[in-house]
């Protein structure tokens, strides 16, 4: 017997599905020696296509032969979608020579106070480095979920740090070549290195920007954080763990 699926039911299904916690990725480093797989100290394990492949295998998704070739290119983490190594028409590596955090192409510039009033989640800010102070720019977006972006400038107005607080899957990272697994406050996090594309969902749907790289992604309290900076992984984790 067929039943009619209301559009709202489908939208709610999408919201629930987006909250799905993926199984822990097995330790691949001991068994695989792929070019992008490299081991970090302690619990920090390298990730690669193979990690995504095994994670999906663990879920039984790749039991569908037709999907096998393409599915391994996609990975979800919290509210962020990563498309690993997807080919692009333009070589991104040659277009952005230096690491500079992205000033978001988002509308909704506001004050920190107004963003805190509007957001349905506490806006946590880094307390490290000690000289960071309050953000220089704050953006607030609301569609099905909410996004708050806080940006800090270095001397001369160059972006120094951009922290995205995301509650809905509004972002996609494309053409990601290197993803490593790390931890923030003991929970799984991803470290994305190298040039890639970021797809923002804004009033202009599908806005895409090139990013030079070094992005830490983690989840905390139902919010997905995306920290874009010029710092090392260890320093980025220290900043992430200083959120208060």
């Amino acid at each position: 017997m067929s039943v009619t699926v209301p559009p709202r039911w489908e939208e709610r299904l999408a919201v629930v599905a987006a909250a799905f916690t993926y199984p822990a990725t097995p330790d691949l480093s001991a068994r695989l020696s792929l070019p992008s797989a490299r081991v970090r100290s302690g619990s920090r394990l390298a990730w690669s296509y193979a990690a995504a492949l095994l994670a999906l295998l663990a879920m039984g998704v790749l039991a569908v032969p037709e999907a096998r070739a393409g599915v391994i290119e996609f990975l979800r983490f919290g509210a962020i979608r990563l498309i690993l190594g997807a080919s692009t028409a333009t070589p991104v590596a040659t277009r952005i020579p230096v690491l500079t955090p992205t000033v978001p192409p988002l509308s909704g510039r506001t004050s920190l106070e107004d963003a805190r009033t509007s957001a349905r989640f506490p806006i946590l800010l880094p307390t490290y480095p000690a000289d960071l102070g309050p953000p220089d720019e704050v953006y607030f977006q609301e569609f099905a979920g909410q996004v708050v972006v806080t940006v800090w400038h270095a001397d001369g107005g160059v972006p120094r740090l951009a922290l995205y607080h995301i509650t809905e899957r509004n972002f996609g990272l494309k053409a990601v070549e290197i993803v490593e697994q790390t931890t923030v406050n003991g929970l799984r996090a991803l470290w994305v290195r190298g040039p890639h594309l970021v797809q923002f969902q804004d009033l202009r749907m599908g806005e895409i920007q090139l990013v030079a790289g070094n992005v830490l992604i983690w989840t905390q309290g139902g919010v997905t954080y995306r920290l874009e900076s010029q710092v090392s992984l260890d320093e980025a984790v220290r900043i992430a763990e200083s959120l208060r």
Binding site: M1, A18, E142
Partner: protein, 116 residues
């Protein structure tokens, strides 16, 4: 045009309320959201949804997984599945149809969350 805009706004508000309710559930069970072991709240519902998806046939599982769990667009799902977008649409329609029947029959908590 105004009717369409109002409808879209209402849809966003409705989804916003739904999301806020899930967030409240998550706050009552933060461990579930933070990923250690889904036991309730948002992650618990998502886990239940995943169990329901696993009850479907492989073709339904594939299209629902790509579209809703990975969040791919219909065009991206079509690229992954090597089928035309129209095929993705029709498979989604049939898959959701069967999904709703499974949920209605065997997953009352999920049915309550999705139907309200």
């Amino acid at each position: 045009m105004r009717i369409t805009a109002n409808h879209a706004r209402n849809q966003r508000r409705s989804l916003g309320r739904f999301w806020a309710r899930l967030q409240r559930m998550a706050r009552q069970d933060p461990d579930a959201v933070q990923g250690s072991r889904p036991s309730g709240g948002t992650a618990g519902l998502a886990e239940t949804l995943w169990q329901a998806v696993r009850r479907l046939g492989s073709e339904d599982q594939e299209v629902i997984y790509l579209r809703y769990f990975l969040g791919l667009s219909e065009a991206e799902a079509a690229e992954v599945m090597h089928v035309p977008v129209g095929t993705v649409k029709s498979r989604l329609h049939r898959g959701l149809d069967r999904m709703r029947q499974v949920v209605a029959r065997d997953y009352p908590s999920l049915r309550e969350a999705l139907d309200e």
